[in-house]
Structure formats: C-alpha cells, structure tokens
Amino acid sequence: MKKITLLLVAVFATFSINAQTADEILNSYFENIGGKEKLKPLKGIKISAEVNQGMVIHLEIYKMKGGNEMTQVTVQGKTLNQGVFDGETLWSTNFMTQKAEKMPAEATVNHKLQMNDFPDPFLDYKEKGYSVTLEGKETIDGAETFKIKLTQTPKTIDGKKVDNISYYFFDTEDFVPIAMQQEITSGPAKGTISEIKFSDYQEVDGLYFAFSMTMGAKGKEGGQAVTIKKIELNPEVDNNMFKFPEEISETKE
C-alpha cells in the first residue's frame, strides 16, 4: 500500500506541475533565488563584468534602488560612462569627444518608467501597476520553460504610446528565467525581437544572480556574451556620480 501511496504522490505531482499559475511560478522563483524578504531591502548592486569582442572590455554596472544607474566602460584605461541615469536625466559619454551628452528626451521618459524595477520587475509587480500572465510552455536552449508575459507601463515611441511587453522564460525545473525576449520598438531594428539568455546563477550573500548573459536576436545564432565576475550588494556610492556633468572642464592628467 505504501508503494501505491508513493505512486499517488507522483501522479499528483505531475498534475500540479501542469496546473501552475504565473504567480505560483514567480513565488517559486523568488524562493529559489533567496526569498522576497532578502530581495526587498536591497539598496543597490554593483556588477563587475567583462565583454569579449575579440577585445576584452571591462564594465562596472551600478543599479540602485530608486532608479540611479550607470555603466562604466573601461577601454585602454579610459572610463566612459554609458546609460547613466540620476532619476531625471539619462546620459552617456560620447566616444569621440569623451564628453557627456544627454540622451533623447523620449529615451529618458521611457527610462523613467523603469525606476521602480530594481531589484526585480516581478517583485510586487501589482503595486507597480504591472501585469503578468502565463502564456504556456516553450523550449529554450533545449530546456522546457514557462513563458511569462510581463506588461509594464506603456512606453512612448515617436510620440505615440506603445505597449511595454516582455516575455520571460522560466526553467520548469529550477523556476529561474533562462531567457527574456522583447520587441525592439525604435531604431532601424524596430520590429525585430531581442533576446537575452541567462545562466550561471550563483549565490551572493544569500541571493542568486545570473552571472552570464548573452544578448542577441531571437532565434539567431551569435549574440554578445557578458560575463559577470563579481556582484557586490549595497555598494557604497556617491550619488553625485549619476548626475549629468553640466559643464565639462578638461580634467588634469
């Protein structure tokens, strides 16, 4: 009889997997990466990463609660700031002049919509006004995944409001996302689907992060890998570094 009970458990386990809801999947996800209670108090992270384009480029990425963020690219000892946001202004360093330039107003407006996404857009998504639906299963990288659609605040593209939708693919075994897809909504690649693949989840002070990301176009081979070397939780930062430098003076060498 014991055997039969075991079998029964197995059978019901099969059924319950089939009947997952989006929220159940997200709950398992948060549990598996360390728990919501650990994630919520996070004030910011600093990511040290490398991009290998034949030439190795070092990146330092800051993402802070409240929206401040910055990517520092170091090339030949020179540091260029990319995608810097202080809550108001989105800016980057121009490669040619090495001076800070503001990003287009629309990009800034759209970037502002993500201010509350740290540390995870799915965390308290209802309070943020987002919605989540389970779209079924799909095979990604040979692995079975749950396809979850995340709808965020509409973006503005060429003066028009457009839906802000992304799809996350959660591994059905581990309940962590292994891919994210999003339609490119502006620029020459508009209308094509971008894809980021996640792997190498590793623990940092009780929380799991994907230490490897590959960015490319959906279904196409290739893509640019970003390898994360180190993640620091709640880093000490001077908030002034996110501010757009209004006047540029020649820095002394």
Partner: protein, 1008 residues
C-alpha cells in the same frame, strides 16, 4: 481498488516515457539541435510572389505583406524595410486583416494563397494574434486550404467574416462565407454552394456593415488540367449581415461564369466594380454598378482587365476617389475615368496580384507582384522594389565544389541563378548571377568544367552556359525521327554523372542521354510513364479562359538519379507514379512502384535519391497534393526496388518533396516537406523538425556540400537556407546522448587571411545574406542545459597556457562556440585618447590547441587544430618572422603601458607633494610617450611613442604577409626611441624615495 488501478494506469501512461528514457534517450527537435542554426542567404533582388497587401487603418508607416510562400512580413517604416512575423507557421498566405478597432494588436492571418497557379502551396487554417503579431493562435479552418478574405466589422470587433476559397485539387465542404460573433471562437457557415465552389472575394459596404458582397467561384485543378468557371460561379449580396444572400446579376453576361472580383468604392458605397470571366470573350471584363448592385454596365474588356482571371482578379478603388481604380494583371492597370479606359502601371516585375493605396495620400501606392513588393510615390507611374524581402521561390538547388562553394537554382517566374555561399560583408544582391530566363528550375554545374546547365519551363530552352567566355547555347533534346512528340514536365528533370563529367541526362517521357554536354542526344528508354492520354489534353485546359502555359504537362519524367557507385544503375521517377530502374545503362527497365505497399496509385514521384553506400539502395518520396492527398510518403529500398520500406512517421507534417542522404552516416537523412525540414538520425524511426532560424517554409530541394558538410536547401518562398556543417549529427548515438558532455570532431580550421573589403553601401535597406563563420568552432553536446553554477571555457596551448577566454554555450543538445584564433589585445598605455592600433589582437600561430570547459568541479578538454591557408605563399621562416615581430611589438606595447602606469602614479604623488621639479620632468617625458590632448576624431593630437608603436604593431599583426623591410626599419626607430625613453625614465625613477609606498602592481599583475 478500481480507482487505484485507474490511477496506476494513469501513472504508467504519464511516466512510461521517462522510465523508458533511462534506457534510450530520444531527443526531440530543439533538445537535440541546440545551437545548430540555419542561415539565410537570399537572394532577395528578385524577391518572390506576394498574395495580399494590407494597410494599417490609422498609421501610414505600417504595411503588411502576405506572401505566397514566405509568410507574413511587416513594415514599420512605410515599406522601406520589412520583418517576418509568422515564421513558425504555414508560410503560404491568403489574407492578412487588422481589426480596425484594435489595429495595433489584433491581426488575423488566413493561410493558403488564393491565386491558384499550378505551383501554389497550401494553407492550414486561420490564425489570430492579439499582441501585434508576437504570438499566434490557430483558430480554425484546418481544412480550408485557402482563405481569400477576412473582414472585421469596423463597428464591432467580435464580428468577423471569413471567405474560404477552399481546396484546389479536390472536393471540400469547408468553403464559402463564414461568420463569427465572438471574435473567432465559434463560426457559422453563411453561404455555401457545393464542394467545388468557394468564395473568391468578399467585400463589406464601408457605410453599413450589414451589407456584404461575395463572389463565388467554381474551380478545380489536377496535376494535368485546370478548370475555371461553371454554373455555380456567381456574385451575391446580403443586406442582413449574411443571413440571406441574393444573386446580383442584372446586366451580367449569360451562361457560365468564372472568377469574379468585387470592390466597393470606399468614398461612395453605391459604386461597385466587378471583373467577370465569362463564356464569350466580348462579354468578359470590367463591369460597374452605380446603384449598389441593382444593375451593371460593362465598361472594358481590354487584355489588361481580362488576362488570366484565376491569377489576377483583384480590383482596388482609390479610398478618396471612386473614379480611380486599379486592377491586378500581367502589368497591372489603372483607370482615372471610372473604369472606361486604363493605362498600364509603371515598370515593375510582371504579375501584379494586389494593390493598396496609402491611407493618407493616393500618390503613394504599394503593389504585390510575382517579384516582391513595389512602392510608388507618383500614383503608380514609377515603382521601386522593396529590397529586403528574401522571398525567392526555388524549385531546385545544387552546389559546386568551389571555395567558397556556389549555390545554383531556378526560381518561380524569376529565372535561374548562382551565387556564393560566402562573400565579404555578407551575400549581397550584386553577388548573384543570372543564368537563364523565364521560370527557372534545375541548374547544374558541370562536374569539372566551368559550364552551367539551366533551363526554362517545359525544357523550351535548356542552356549550356560557358561561364569563362560568357557564351550560351540551347541544347534541349529535339524531336527525333520515328519517335512521338516529346512531353517535358514544366519542371523538366536533368542530371549529371559522377562517372563521366560530360554526360548529361534529360527526361521527357523518355530518358535522354548525351555524352557530349547536350550536343548529341540518345533516347535510352521506352516511354517510362503511364502515357495516360486522358492526362495529355493541356490545350483544352483553363476552363472559361484557355490557359495552356505548359504548367500542366503531365505523364512525364520528373526525377533522374544515376548511381554514384555504378553508372549502369539509373533511377527514374515520373509525375504519374512510376519508379523505374535500369541496371544495364538503359537496355532494360523495371517499374518498381507496384512493389510499394500502401502507396496511392499514380502519385507524383517527386525525388529519388540513389544511395552512396550501396547501389541497390535508394530512397523515393511521393507528393500527392495534386490529387488532394496531403500525406507524407517516403520509402527506402535495398534491393533495386523489389521491396520498399516506409520510413515516414506521424511526426512528419506536410507532403514530401525531397530527401537527402548523408555521405557518411547512412542513418542520417534530411527530408524536405511543405512545412519545413525534418531530420532523422536513426534511418527514419524518428523525425525531428528543424526550427532553429528555419521557418516552416516549403523545402523543395536539398543538397549536401561534401567538403563543408553544409546542408543547402532550396525553399519555395524564403530563398536558399543553409545549415553549416551538419557533421555533429553524424556522431550522435545513444552512447553520446548518455554522456554529460561530448565534444564533436572538427576538421582543422584555416586561419583566414582574406581581405574584408566589401563596400556595404545600400545594406540599410537591402537584404544581406549571412556568411558562415571563419572562426574555429568548438562543438559539443550537453546532456542538460547549464543554468546554475559557473561554467567557463578557455583556449589553451597544449602546455596549458591560456590564450583566450570564450563564452561557452549552455544549451541542451548541440552547442557551438567560436574562437577567432586571436589572443587578447595588448594592454595599452593610458593617454588622453585611444590608441586605435592598440585595439588589434594578434593571431595565434597555426598548431594544436585545446578548449578547456569547466562546469562546477568537472573539467572537459578538447583538442583542435588551426592551420595556415594552404594557398598562402609564405614560408615557414616568413611566418616565424611575422609572429616574432608581432609579439615583440606586443610586449613592447605592454612594457610602455606599464611604464606610463608607474609614471602616472608617481606624478600623482608628486602633485600631492607639490614637487614642481619632479612634476615638470615627468610631464615632459609623458608628453613624448602618449597623447595628452585632443579627442578621438578630427580633434586628435600629434601621435606620440604609444601611437606610433601601436600603429606599427597593428600594421604588422594585421598583415597576411611577413614584415617588410620598411616596417622593420620603422620598428628599429621606435625601439630606439623607446630605449631612450626608458633611460630617461630610469634616471628620474632612481631619485624617487616614495616608490615603495605607492604599492604599485607588478608587471604581471598589471597586464593580467
């Protein structure tokens, strides 16, 4: 207890696969293929057939093209470029419709093209997207085969009408007009005539959604005939949203009718236009009603209006002017006087199927033709092609053994071509070469000479083209004394021999053989077909409009295969079901199709593949779609056709057109079906659909390039598609599948030294075909997708010294990692700006290396080799000199970098200490070492030692050649200058007391 038994049964059913899997691993499609991916090379310069154009009702930047064989494409920029949005589904499209109330999100796609020429594909139902085309759901009409129109009530999104043209080659009751009141969940048939009559066109009154017009068409095609028209073709009107329908024929010609088009003027819904195919030529043509169909007047029966009604019957009225109408046709026609007179549209590809006006400006028009989408800015007078739609429709494909190899093939309505499989900057439109007119079919390269054979429809011309001298002549077999008239298929078979390079075969009802490249022909068979006279009356084909294009020629040979193992063994397949084989070079023939159990009689033998492993072994595939049989058929014989085994499983969806045997592993087979590519690694026991960057497009022909092991597919709607190097599939067996990691064997990689000159002009809006990689490819199988924990890959020399880090693939199944055989770029001194030369990475030397894969605690190693191009003229000594010089400069660059690093640290400290003398000395030295002012563009400063050193390093490292004497001379100047700088620096450094406290990195730490 009963309950428990039931649960047990359930359990067994649910878990049987997993229990079984412990013994045998069966991977399905994406689990198996992993990162093995297809690349598309076009061509797009002639594009392919378009079935339907669709505007967005409020955004004039958005245009959709529903294509005959290449899916649905969307433009976001007013037709400048398009993106495919329907790749996973049936690629033959009938109609695209946006819900006018929710046009950004709700899209309906009806599959199955509706201009039913002989070569049309089939649809498999109606699809709907509610998120702008990201996700699709099939919502019915599985057996509809062709959907002509979809109309959503502009006042109520729930009300959807669908016009089903239906099956072309057989009876079907899934035809007529259907309506849904719940957005497509349930459907009601509103108008149905009989199993032979479908709805060819449907229109709604723009002012009153209850008023509908439907044209019903009686039509039928067989493999050998076409019939348009009958008693049941008619134009109907409903004024009660489709509940009741009445014929509106007041003023119509008497007798049978054929295909009718209907259009309502958007700006005045009393004005209707129809084009009528009638019994009498003088009564055919354009008719107009000014009273919403109460009465009709004939206006015009010009050629442009009456030509081939089955192929061209679309009428479109200018949305702002009811007197401006456009009609599809051979050239397309436009009238500005309400249909009384027409002029041809501007020059563009012939065969215009659909037209749409811009929503805001009638001067802007879009045309869907047999050769892609055209745009006009001046009301259709001047037309320009959209250049990024790779919709070319191949009937056949072949490859040669050049390097890079070329791809040859013929296209529906677009001639014959060849182009390279790789080209600097990608495969561009200009890389393709025309080698034939008309419809193109088979194109074959002479095995040894620079000669190409090509043909046009029905072997009306078969060309032998001398590529070097640009001379062509026609060589088709001509009628012979005492022999009956030759019957060539529209897509006439030709074949070459691996035994005799000058041998050339053609098939009519006879097999023709030439030993002198087509100058002299000999018939080496009796009539190998059924010679069924009832299938030879093509002159009477067409129905109400005669249509004898040669496309319906039947009882002909369709495929020829000479065994590569024995030239006397020749296989011949016919379009009427015979599989003939001779084992004595044509003296005696045996029809073996009678031995195939379960094969429908007279079914089209589409391809025979003679095995390269055994001369008695062959594969034959059959396509019954022209008999209204959409099943898949593929068989194998090992005894010259005495017995045949079915190798199809129910995993294969869609009728089969081609099969390709691997050259190495007899169990590895590739199957081209109407809905894509299938691959088996176990001789046909299981088939896996290949979907990695491979649309569900009809694969008409497959070839395998022997040197590269590239699988080259001729698709009928998405051009040539290549899967580079399928060799990993050869190695996969149960032993491999049970390993955690398995590295596949790879051939040595040639260090590429070819120039990158390409000139990418025009690529902003032109399709550019993807090149194969030139990098080293490390290929391995992973049993499980890697998600948790660290996984890295290093490239090391055999002693274990690290040369590079690469990012490993993590997929379950096959992974492909690329290494560009370069080591890390040198660490370059920090200056005010970049040293562009310092971005160069030296190439590794030829030799053996290993890839070291680390996953958690496990380490896996794989050795591979890179070699110099055997064509290179450099000696071993030259190579050695180049490598040594490059590395010398590499080291020098890094030493300078370290010197500047130290100097900067000292300078910083000196500044703190306000040691003016030291600051001055250091600053002067530094200014000679690196650039300290300016920017990275035209504001750049005069180059200093760093720039000169790095530029020479880059120049030498990037050259295919050994260093020249002038480069070496330059090197000695730089070396000298560096020596002086080092001495100057040493002098300064000697006197500094605080070096220790700076805690500087060592050189090794610094360059790491």
């Amino acid at each position: 207890m009963k309950k428990i038994t039931a649960i047990l049964v359930l359990f067994i059913v649910f878990n049987f696969t997993s229990l079984y899997a412990q013994d045998t691993i069966i991977l399905k499609s994406k689990e198996l293929f992993g990162a093995l991916s297809a690349r598309h090379i076009g061509p797009a310069l002639m594009s392919g057939r378009i079935n339907d154009m669709e505007n967005h009702p409020t955004n004039d930047r958005i245009i959709y093209a529903g294509t005959a064989g290449g899916g649905v494409w969307k433009s976001n920029n007013g037709g400048a470029t398009f993106n495919p949005i329907f790749d996973d589904y049936c690629q033959s499209i009938g109609a695209v419709e946006l819900d006018p109330n929710d046009p950004d999100n709700t899209i309906y796609v009806g599959t199955g093209e509706t201009w039913p020429r002989n070569s049309v594909s089939i649809g498999d139902g109606l699809y709907k997207s509610v998120d702008g085309g990201t996700n699709w759901k099939k919502i019915g009409f599985e057996k509809s085969e062709r959907i002509a129109n979809i109309i959503v009530n502009p006042k109520n999104s729930k009300e959807v009408y669908v016009a089903i043209l239906g099956a072309l080659w057989g009876d079907s009751d899934e035809r007529g007009v259907y309506k849904s009141n719940d957005g497509g969940t349930t459907w009601k048939k509103l108008l149905y005539i009989n199993p032979k009559t479908g709805c060819a066109d449907l229109a709604m009154d723009p002012n009153d959604p209850n008023i509908l017009y439907a044209s019903m068409w009686e039509f039928r095609r067989t493999g050998w005939s076409f019939e348009s028209g009958g008693e049941n073709s008619a134009l109907y009107k409903s004024i009660d949203a489709g509940k009741t329908w009445n014929k509106i024929h007041n003023g119509f010609p008497k007798g049978k009718l054929g295909r009718l088009a209907i259009a309502v003027a958007p700006s005045d819904s009393n004005i209707l236009y129809t084009v009528i195919e009638a019994e009498k030529d003088e009564r055919k043509g354009l008719y107009r009603s000014d009273d919403a169909g109460e009465s009709w007047k004939q206006l015009n029966n010009d050629f442009g209006i009456t030509v081939r009604p089955f192929y061209f019957s679309r009428i479109v009225v200018d949305p702002r002017n009811p007197e401006v109408i456009v009609k599809g046709g051979l050239s397309g026609s436009i009238s500005r006087d309400g249909g009384k007179t027409f002029k041809s549209l501007g020059n563009m590809h012939s065969d215009i199927h659909d037209i749409t006006f811009d929503i805001l400006n009638s001067d802007r028009m879009y045309f869907g033709t047999d050769g892609g989408v055209y745009r006009s800015w001046n009301g259709g007078t001047t037309c320009e092609i959209a250049e990024n739609l790779p919709l070319s429709q191949f009937y056949h494909i072949s490859v040669d053994d050049a390097e890079p190899y070329n791809v040859y093939g013929g296209l529906q309505d677009n001639g014959s071509w060849y182009g390279p499989s790789s080209s600097p900057g990608g495969i561009n439109a200009r890389d393709w070469n025309s080698v034939g007119y008309g419809d193109g079919f088979r194109v074959l390269k002479h095995p040894t000479k620079n000669i190409i054979y090509s043909e046009m429809q029905g072997a009306e011309n078969v060309w032998r083209y001398d590529v070097d001298n640009k001379r062509d002549k026609t060589i088709q077999p001509l009628p012979q004394k005492g022999k009956p008239k030759l019957r060539f298929n529209w897509n006439a078979p030709m074949a070459i021999s691996t035994h005799q390079p000058d041998r050339f075969y053609m098939g009519s009802q006879f097999l023709h053989k030439s030993e002198d490249m087509g100058d002299t022909w000999k018939i080496i068979s009796p009539d190998l077909t059924t010679n069924d006279k009832s299938k030879q009356a093509q002159e009477d084909s067409g129905g109400l409009s005669k249509d004898n294009s040669g496309a319906e020629n039947h009882t002909t040979i369709f495929t020829i295969a000479e065994s590569t193992l024995d030239e006397n063994v020749i296989w011949v397949g016919t379009d009427d079901g015979n599989v003939q084989v001779t084992q004595d070079g044509g003296s005696t023939w045996t029809n073996t199709s009678v031995n195939i159990i379960g094969l429908p009689k007279n079914i089209w033998c589409y391809h025979i593949e003679a095995s390269v492993f055994d001369k008695g072994t062959a594969y034959a595939v059959f396509d019954g779609h022209t008999m209204n049989n959409m099943n898949a058929y593929a068989y194998k014989t090992t005894d010259f056709g005495k017995t045949w085994t079915n190798i199809i499983t129910d995993e294969v969806i869609g009728f089969v057109r081609n099969i390709q045997e691997d050259y190495v592993n007899p169990d590895l087979l590739f199957l081209g079906t109407e809905f894509g590519l299938y691959i088996t690694i176990d001789g046909g026991k299981h088939w896996n659909k290949f979907t990695n960057n491979m649309p569900a497009v009809a694969v008409h022909f497959i070839d395998l390039q022997k040197r590269t092991n590239d699988l080259v597919m001729g698709t009928h709607g998405r051009g040539a598609i290549i899967i580079d190097d399928i060799s990993p599939l050869r190695e996969i067996n149960q032993e491999v599948l049970h390993k955690k990691v398995h590295f596949f064997k790879t051939k040595p990689t040639v260090l590429n030294e070819e120039s990158n000159f390409s000139g990418s002009f025009g690529s902003e809006t032109q399709f550019v075909g993807q090149n194969p990689t030139k990098s080293v490819q490390i290929k391995y199988y992973l049993k499980k997708r890697h998600t948790f924990g660290k996984m890295t890959m290093e490239i090391q020399d055999l002693e274990g010294n690290k040369l590079s880090e690469v990012s490993p693939g993590k997929s379950k199944g096959i992974n492909i990692v690329k290494w560009n055989y370069r080591i890390k770029q040198p660490k370059v001194a920090k200056g005010k700006t970049f040293s562009f030369g310092g971005f160069s990475s030296p190439k590794a030397k030829a030799g053996k290396y290993k890839a070291v894969l680390k996953e958690g605690k496990e380490t896996y190693e794989h050795e591979f080799e890179v070699i110099y191009d055997p064509k290179s003229k450099l000696s071993k000594e030259d190579r050695e000199l180049q490598y040594k010089t490059t590395m010398k400069m590499y080291d020098m660059t890094q030493k300078l970098a370290y010197m500047v690093y130290e100097l900067d640290a000292i300078l910083e400290k000196a500044t703190v200490l306000k040691n003016k003398k030291l600051i001055s000395k250091l600053t002067t030295l530094k200014k000679s070492l690196v650039i300290t002012t300016g920017d990275n563009y035209v504001g750049s400063a005069e180059p200093q030692l760093r720039e000169k050193m790095a530029d020479l390093f880059s120049k030498i490292a990037g050259s295919y050649d050994k260093p020249s004497s002038s480069e070496l001379e330059n090197l000695s100047i730089i070396s000298e200058r560096f020596s002086i700088a080092k001495k100057d620096y040493a002098k300064i450094k000697k006197k500094i007391k605080f070096l220790e406290e700076l805690k500087l990195k060592t050189f090794d730490e610094f360059v790491k």
